[in-house]
């Protein structure tokens, strides 16, 4: 008997399970509130797992949504940053245009005060070594620039042409130590020579060879005298900053602050003829 049971064990188990299933199906249809203890236990054990999954899912959903919100916010911030950069660039452009307008207006006023023939020019280079105070401009002999022609901007005298090529020219600034321009004190008409006296620290000139007896005061305006025939008379050179009167000599010196701001030199004009234009 035991051997038969062992031999047909699987068949017996299967048949018993099927009989149990079929009997349970036919015998009762339990109402919902009369669930078996086994079923209640299953539900009781399952509920925490399913609740945990729902909570985890909700948490993941929140993180996921937050992530996309963050991505959107970052994208928006990026776009805003881009627009802000564009706006800033536009503002800079407008400021540059405004500044250029102001400089051109000053050039125009200068031209009205000194109605000669000019050629407009732009600076295309400066002295790389820094030993000489020179600049390179974008016009040359082919454009009608003569050798030693005066160069000015809206504020006053910049320098003069000293090296000329066909399409560019080098300008020796009045602050270079090799430069000298004949000038007069506008208030007293006292004469002297404006010499370049620039150092690394200061971009200035020196008013030299003025007699000790001449009346020079701090703040006096110095303009070109026109006697050297290089520059027409009356063009601003600078203002006296300091006066030195030595004990023995016959001359006095003065430190002159140039009329032109050489650190912000952009649009300039080359004076090609002193014939007046109206």
């Amino acid at each position: 008997m035991a051997e038969i049971l062992r031999k047909y064990r699987s068949l017996i188990v299967t048949v018993l399970l099927l009989i149990f299933s079929l009997t349970s199906l036919y015998s009762h249809h339990q109402p919902q509130e009369e669930r078996s203890a086994m079923e209640r236990a299953t539900v009781w054990l399952t509920t925490p797992i399913q609740k945990a999954i729902v909570y985890i899912w909700a948490g993941v959903g929140i993180i996921w949504d937050s992530y996309f919100d963050l991505v959107d916010a970052r994208q928006l911030a990026g776009e805003n940053g881009y627009l802000l950069t564009l706006s800033n660039l536009r503002i800079r452009e407008l400021e540059a245009v405004e500044s250029e307008n102001a400089r051109l207006r000053r050039l125009l006023e200068f031209k009205q005060r000194h109605p000669y023939k000019y050629l407009p020019a732009r600076i295309i280079g400066t002295d790389i070594l820094g030993q000489f105070r020179t600049i390179t401009i974008n016009i040359g002999a082919d454009d009608g620039v003569p050798q030693l022609a005066p160069v000015v901007n809206g504020d006053g005298v910049v320098g003069r042409i000293y090296a000329l090529s066909s399409h560019s020219a080098r300008v020796l600034l009045i602050i270079d130590q090799n430069s000298s321009v004949d000038g007069v004190i506008l208030r007293t008409r006292s004469r002297g020579i404006i010499q370049g006296n620039a150092s690394d620290e200061r971009l200035e000139c020196k008013f030299a060879y003025s007699l000790r007896t001449e009346d020079i005061e701090v703040g006096d305006e110095i303009v070109t005298s026109g006697i050297d025939r290089s520059f027409p008379p009356g063009m601003p050179l600078g203002r006296v900053e300091q006066v030195f009167r030595s004990e023995g000599g016959i001359f006095q010196d003065a430190i002159v602050h140039p009329a032109v701001d050489f650190t912000r030199l952009e649009e300039i004009m080359v004076l090609i003829s002193t014939e007046t234009q109206h």
Partner: protein
């Protein structure tokens, strides 16, 4: 120990699957988890223990679904027999083949359940295109999820199997 492990695993899988596939919003693409577990058991257990564990799993599955346990006990016995015969005939002992073959067993299981429902509850379910589509979706999902689940069960069994080491010093 391995059997208890598999039953607990099935219990957790049914609980997790019941919530997860609902949350994922898959309407048809839901694997027949009972089919996967019974298919695995069909090749990894002998007849008696395999049928018994399958029946227990079927009971849990029924409790999870709130349906009479008898349906899924019969269903699990049917899947066990079906898979056992098919896999032995086709000699599909490797896990990937077994997992792939759950596509067929899932179709068979769905048809069997439909037949049982029709038989006992007179649902008069017609062989409509919707039914075929639903069955195919379930079978596809079963085949997709079968391999990872079977692999997990295999790892669990390996973990629960005590390792016997030879003591070479005594030889």
């Amino acid at each position: 120990m391995k059997n208890i492990g598999i039953v607990i695993f099935a219990f957790v899988v049914f609980a997790v699957g019941g919530s997860l596939f609902h949350l994922l919003g898959f309407s048809y693409f839901r694997p027949d988890l009972l089919c996967i577990i019974v298919s695995y058991l069909s090749m990894r257990r002998d007849w008696t223990s395999g049928i018994l564990i399958s029946a227990i799993c079927g009971t849990f599955f029924a409790f999870h679904h709130g349906t009479p346990a008898a349906f899924f006990i019969m269903d699990s016995i049917f899947i066990f027999f079906f898979m056992r015969l098919c896999l032995l005939r086709l000699n599909l002992r490797h896990l990937p083949f077994m997992a792939g073959f759950t596509f067929v067993s899932a179709i068979a299981s769905q048809m069997f359940i439909t037949l049982l429902l029709d038989l006992f509850y007179r649902t008069d379910q017609q062989m409509s295109p919707e039914l075929i589509i639903r069955v195919l979706f379930v079978a596809s999902a079963t085949a997709v999820f079968a391999f990872p689940l079977m692999l997990l069960m295999q790892r669990l069994e390996e973990f629960l199997t005590p390792v016997v080491r030879d003591n070479y010093l005594l030889k």
